[in-house]
Structure formats: structure tokens, C-alpha cells
Amino acid sequence: MRVYLCEDSVDGIFTGVYDAWASRLGHDNVKLLAQSGEVYEPELFCEYQRVETDPEKAGKVLKTIRNRISEYAAQMLIRACCSADEEKADDIYRFIVLGLNMGRRTSDQLSDPHVMSIFEKDRQVGNEAHHYLGFLRFSRVKEGVLFAEFEPKGDITAIVAPHFADRLPDENFIICDRRRRKAAVHPAGDQWFLTEVSEELLQKMEESSDRGDEYRNLWKVFFTSIGIEERRNEKLQNNLLPKRFRSMMTEFQIYE
């Protein structure tokens, strides 16, 4: 068994798919694992091979999915790549193997465990991204820049960024995934792009975003007064707005 260790990104995983396929070892003799760092527990009788991410190979795989399966499947797989689950890379590989036989109908084959797994990951990632469209919070930092940070489970920065670029075309904004140290940067009136964020820059942003933005306080005032005491229902609130989202949300940050 040969395990392909690929970078945890769309390009990384698709490159892994390319390499595993090209190895001609047979589908039963290869396995994909999306893992960025060195930390993994080697299994016995496995040979590990690190995949060198190659956008060109990844592009070929994506094109094949689009042509031979469907655009819908391509979107599903891209979102599945953003899932936090490590098993996803292998499911993606199996999905594509199946898809090259079945074509368009592949995404309906929910009785296949790999298809099901992709279906679920796609949905999870989509749901989380949808949540953040509402729950993400920007603060105005000194230089006239809007800064938002979050710690999503999935790697969804590139999924949510287009929504905000469409909504805030004339703003300079940064959406920063703290856990992955990456950010979507949108200069006013321009295209957005992804970039890595240094610890230093992150700290600077955080410091200046916490203070000096008067609308943070106004929002808290509104948030408190809009609730109806006679209808207090924290259970419902917790169901609809799980606690894990709250640490980055202005209205739940009590101390400034």
C-alpha cells in the first residue's frame, strides 16, 4: 500500500489524485491522506510518499472532473477539499474513480460510502460557510481597513470571500482565518486574493481592532436592547447560535 501525503488544499489533494492515478499501482493499492505537517502515525506495511503540489496537475484533474462527471460534482469536490476531516482526500479519490465510470449520475449514488461521505462534507462545509456569512464580524482598524477574524473548522476563507467582495466592493477588508494563518484581502475597488498572515501582522490588527471603533459599542447596545425579556430563551439561542462562533463576535465580547 502506498500512501500519498498531500498538502491540505484543493491543489494539493487534486495533485495527489493525479499522482496516485498515474502510479498505475491499482486503486486498491493506493491511499490518499491530506496532511500538511509531519505529524502522522505511520502504519505498518505502508510506504509513504509526499506529494509535491503542482497546480498544473491539479488543473488537469479538475478539468477531467468537469468534463467526465459534472460541474456540480466539481463544486462538491472542491468544497469537500475544504473540510477539516483528514479522510476526505481518499474519499475524493474514490469518488473520482467511480465518477469516471458513472459520469453525471455519480453524485446521486448516496448508497456508495465515498459518495455519501463527499455529500456530507460538502454539506457541512456549505453550512459552516453560510453561518459565517452572518456571524463574521468586521471591526474598523486605524488605517480605514475592515478586519475580521474567525476560526472555522473547514478551510472556508475562499468560499466566504466572494460574498463579501460583492457586498463591500468599495471597502478595504481582510478576513483572517486565525487557525490557518491565511487571509482573504480585498483592496477597495479591486479583486480579492488569498495570502498568508504573519503572527506580527495578526497581532497588530487585533490590537487596533479592539479599541477605537465606536460602532462596536453601539452594536452591543442594540444587541442587548432588542431581546425581549419576557421571551428569554437561552436554549433556543444556543441552538441557533452555537457557542463556538461567539468568541469572535462583537456582541459577545464583553471586555474591551
Partner: protein, 563 residues
């Protein structure tokens, strides 16, 4: 301060009440100037919180590449308040000053409370800055009545105009129409707003008279119809961009088509509200189903309103109504020109119209409430009717004391029933009658209905049409759709059904999969059920006599009706 004896005497003869009001006004004027934006926001959001609607859904509008904002058809919740309600819009009043005296309302003129009034600029700044920070989807603007309905509506229009034209805000706006405001102002607001609403407040005209003496059915329904006409016009001019029909009408249309006209309503019946019905509604009656239309139009008014009565165009620019001047000026020239300039990208209240009723402040039954909702969907093509459990904020003898707090469970059942009207093709008359005018709060309305109509069950899942499937407890719109799709590929088995049912909730199963559909009611009494607390009484369940909690337990646990 010194004043002469004459003045003193004047004060003495003023009724104490009047004096208090004047005193309060003076105090407020001084206060107003000192109120910070933060205090205004606190007061005016607190005063707006009882309004239910906070949805931002119903209109899809991409950004235009330069102005702030877009709109997502699915709606986006930005936060959830401590009461568990979604926060999606900056929900505020323009002012909580009010010359009206609605008994249930904190802002009524006879209350001595902190008063505040925003300036249009303040509202725009708050909306823009909150929107930038992704706190909100847009603005929800309502207001107390400042001196007169027209003056208030004018302020609202002015604010919306400023927000759309000067600030170029492209996000979502929900605007409340003020009862009694002129049609022209309502129309002006509609071209700026995505959704308009005017509250019914109370389900009956008597209730309104008792608790909201300054409002009448007429001052509420006239603006409501004006909004409806505006929406229709914009739909005709802009097509899809002008917004789609409400769910109720779409369901009725589908029902009409799928039953060959036996059920549902025809295109004509779905048309704009007739004069006769409007009159009846104004007088506080409840119009019957479309089939009974004649009953409600005894006056002989024409039954189909093809010719809309319009305000005379020359009448429109009256002096003193300058806020909407710019908007209305264009209209005077050519009606259809106006949307091009102002609402071309939006249409007239493209996300439709909604309203709200208070539940439990007056003695109406669920049947009356639901019938009014049905009439509103039918006649005014509303998108939503919201129900708001009465909260006793004023100590007033005209208001009931509700020991258990606001009737939240009743409100919940009404929402469920409302859903049945809009998406399932149920009629209010089927769910409730004059003999049984209230829901059993322990049962969901569909289950309640099913237990009273056992002769319609079980349903053969492989053959029943979509709307019949929808009537089965435990099958929702999603599951029904999946079942219809899945059975095209062959006969369904029990396992398939389990998959087709959405969610993990254990539903009650009122369907069967055998070919024996000639079973009598008695046969169906032989239920296969797990023995549980309530299960000793299957016979009673069949007779539909359960009205207590154990029935719920029983029905929930009974497994498939394998006849």
C-alpha cells in the same frame, strides 16, 4: 422663571392630564438635545423590539460593483438575541413619540416614558456602519406617530430616500407603513423598500376598536392594498425582478392545476382584492373562501377589479408633502419611467408585503385569527403573516392578565397552521371550525387534523398525489417531493420511505404501502405499535378522542399502519 397670575390660572384649568402631556413635551424637548446617539439607539431599538418580522429573505440582488450592499434570497441571520429570535436587520423606530394611544403599546401617548427621535442622517449612518461591519442585512424602519400619520410617513420616506440615493445603500430595507398615511407616501416608500408591512394589530375590527382607538380597518387595509397594487405594477413592469408571488398563491395555483380546478383557486380568483371583500374586511368581517365570494359581495360591486382606481395624477404633488417630492415628480410625467430611475434594480417592495397580529390580547379564537390570515394571503397576496404572543407591558384594565406569561405555545401552533395554509394547501375551515375554534396546544395542527379525519388514512404512498402526501403527519414538503421523485423509479418500500423522510425526528406514520386500500375504519384500528405508556388506548386514538399529552406519546410511538 416667572409668570403672571393669569397664566397660573390657565394651568389650573388645564386638565391635569393635559398638563402632564405638555410638561412631558417640554422635558423631552430639552432631553432630546442632550440624548447621545447611543441613548437614542437604546431607546428606539427597545421600542421596536416587539415587532416580529426580522427576516431579510425574499429578494436576490447582486452587488453592483461600487455601492455598499447586496441581498440574498435565502436571508441571512446575523445573530440571535437572548430570546432566541434572529437578528438580521437594524430594527428601530424613527421616533417613539406617538399621538396614538394603543393600549397594548409601550409608546402610547398616555405613557410617561423616555422619548427619542432619530434624525434621518443618524439612521443612515448607523445602517451603513453596521452593515459594513457585517452586523446586519439591512434596515427595518418603523415609527410611532409623530403629530400625524402623513408627517411620520414623510420622515420615513425621507430617511429611505437619503439612504438609497445619497448613501447609495444597496442592502435590504423593510419599511413599515403608518396607518392612515396617504397613498402617495406609501407608494414613494415602496420604491425604496424591499419589503413593506403594515400591522393588522388585532384580528377583528372590534378588537381594534377596543385596544387601538386611533386605528381602523380602513386606515390599515387601504395602505395594504396600495402596496399590493404597487407590487403588481412593478411585477408587470420588471418581470421577475419585481418579486414573486407569495407561497400561498403559488400553492393554490399548483393545487388548482393538479386537481383540474377541483381545489385551489383559479387565476381570476387570485386576482386583486375586490371592492366588496375589502369593504367586508374593513367592517371587520371575514370573507369566505373564493367559492363563497358572492356572499361577501352582496353589494353588487364588480367582482373582478380589472380597472384599478388610481389617485388622480395631478393630485399627487400636494403642497407640504415635499419629502417625497422628488420621487413623485417623476411619476407625474410617466408612471413607468419612475422605476427606471429609482427602483430599476429593485422594483417596488420586491420581497413582498407582510403583516402582524397580536395573539391573546383580545378574545379571538384561533379560527378567527387563521381565517383572517387566510383572507390576507388570498386577497392581498401577503408573503407572511406574523403572530406575536401578547405581552402585557402596560398596566391597563382593558388588557387581559395572562398568568402563564405570553401565550408562546399558542403562537407556535398558529405559525404551524399558517405553514399549512401557505405550503400544504390546507384551508382554515379544515383545520378549525366554529364548533372547534381553537387548536389543542399539545398537538401540532396537522396531527390534530389527521386524528379528526382518520377516514382519510392510511394513504397509499405509491399512488397518492403530492398534496395528499402532504397531509400525512410526518411527511413535509421535502419528503413529499422526494417520495414523488423516488417512486418514478419503481415501487417504494418501507426502507425507501425512511430515507425519503427528512430529518431524524420520529414522526407519526399514517401511510401504508400495501395495495389494500379498501380497508374499513375498524380494520385500521389494529395498529402495530410499541407498547408504551399511552398505548393501552388505541381504539380511542382511532376515534380521534385524544386531546391530552398521552395521545401524543401514543401517536408518536405507533409504527406503520400495516393493514
Amino acid at each position: 422663571m416667572c409668570y403672571n397670575m393669569e397664566n397660573k390660572h390657565m394651568f389650573a384649568i388645564l386638565a391635569r392630564e393635559q398638563y402632564l402631556i405638555i410638561d412631558r413635551m417640554v422635558r423631552n424637548m430639552v432631553l432630546q438635545e442632550r440624548l447621545s446617539l447611543e441613548e437614542k439607539l437604546r431607546i428606539l431599538s427597545d421600542a421596536a423590539k416587539y415587532d416580529v418580522a426580522c427576516t431579510s429573505s425574499g429578494v436576490e440582488r447582486a452587488g453592483n460593483g461600487k455601492d455598499l450592499g447586496n441581498a440574498a434570497a435565502c436571508g441571512i441571520c446575523h445573530s440571535f438575541a437572548a430570546d432566541g429570535r434572529c437578528i438580521s436587520l437594524l430594527k428601530i423606530l424613527y421616533t417613539n413619540e406617538c399621538v396614538f394611544d394603543c393600549k397594548y403599546c409601550l409608546n402610547r401617548s398616555s405613557n410617561d416614558i423616555e422619548r427619542a427621535t432619530f434624525t434621518p442622517e443618524e439612521i443612515c449612518t448607523l445602517t451603513m456602519e453596521f452593515y459594513r461591519r457585517n452586523y446586519i442585512e439591512g434596515l427595518f424602519l418603523s415609527s410611532g406617530v409623530l403629530r400625524s400619520p402623513n408627517e411620520t410617513m414623510e420622515k420615513i420616506v425621507q430617511t429611505l430616500q437619503l439612504l438609497r440615493v445619497k448613501y447609495r445603500f444597496n442592502g435590504y430595507i423593510h419599511c413599515k407603513a403608518i396607518p392612515g398615511a396617504s397613498e402617495d407616501l406609501i407608494e414613494a416608500a415602496g420604491w425604496f423598500a424591499d419589503r413593506m408591512s403594515i400591522n393588522m394589530e388585532l384580528p377583528t375590527a372590534e378588537g381594534l376598536k377596543a385596544l387601538a382607538p386611533h386605528k381602523t380597518r380602513r386606515t390599515i387595509l387601504t395602505p395594504m392594498r396600495k402596496i399590493q397594487l404597487g407590487i403588481e405594477e412593478s411585477r408587470a413592469a420588471l418581470g421577475m425582478m419585481g418579486g414573486n408571488e407569495g407561497a400561498y398563491r403559488v400553492t393554490q395555483k399548483r393545487l388548482y392545476e393538479s386537481t383540474g380546478g377541483r381545489l385551489g383557486t383559479s387565476k381570476e380568483q387570485r386576482g386583486t382584492i375586490s371592492e366588496g371583500t375589502l369593504k367586508l374586511l374593513e367592517e371587520g368581517g371575514i370573507p369566505g373562501k373564493p367559492g363563497n365570494e358572492k356572499r361577501s359581495e352582496g353589494t353588487g360591486a364588480h367582482s373582478q377589479r380589472n380597472t384599478r382606481s388610481r389617485t388622480e395624477q395631478t393630485d399627487i404633488l400636494r403642497e407640504g408633502e415635499s419629502a417625497a417630492e422628488e420621487v413623485l415628480l417623476e411619476r407625474a410625467g410617466n408612471r413607468m419611467l419612475r422605476p427606471d430611475k429609482l427602483g430599476a434594480a429593485r422594483g417596488f417592495a420586491a420581497a413582498g408585503q407582510s403583516t402582524q397580529m397580536i395573539i391573546g390580547a383580545t378574545g379571538e379564537s384561533d379560527y378567527q385569527i387563521l381565517s383572517v390570515a387566510e383572507a390576507l394571503y388570498q386577497k392581498f397576496d401577503l408573503k407572511r403573516v406574523f403572530y406575536s404572543a401578547f405581552i402585557r407591558v402596560n398596566d391597563d384594565s382593558a388588557l387581559p392578565e395572562i398568568p402563564g406569561g405570553p401565550p408562546l405555545l399558542r403562537e407556535h401552533r398558529l405559525y404551524q397552521a399558517d405553514w399549512l395554509l401557505r405550503y400544504y394547501g390546507f384551508e382554515a375551515e379544515e383545520l378549525l371550525t366554529e364548533q372547534k375554534p381553537n387548536f389543542n396546544v399539545f398537538l401540532d395542527p396537522k396531527c390534530d387534523w389527521a386524528l379528526r379525519n382518520l377516514e382519510q388514512f392510511p394513504v397509499e404512498v405509491n399512488r397518492a398525489d403530492y398534496f395528499t402526501l402532504l397531509r400525512v403527519p410526518g411527511i413535509g414538503t421535502r419528503s413529499a417531493g422526494r417520495i414523488v421523485r423516488a417512486r418514478q423509479n419503481g415501487t417504494l418500500r418501507f426502507e425507501d420511505l425512511k430515507k425519503a423522510r427528512s430529518g431524524a425526528e420520529t414522526g407519526y406514520l399514517f401511510y401504508y404501502l400495501c395495495r389494500k386500500d379498501d380497508v374499513s375504519c375498524e380494520d385500521r384500528g389494529e395498529l402495530h405499535y410499541e407498547s408504551t405508556a399511552g398505548a393501552e388506548r388505541p381504539a380511542e386514538a382511532v376515534q380521534g378522542r385524544f386531546h391530552d399529552l398521552s395521545a401524543v406519546v401514543f401517536v408518536r410511538r405507533c409504527s406503520i399502519w400495516t393493514v
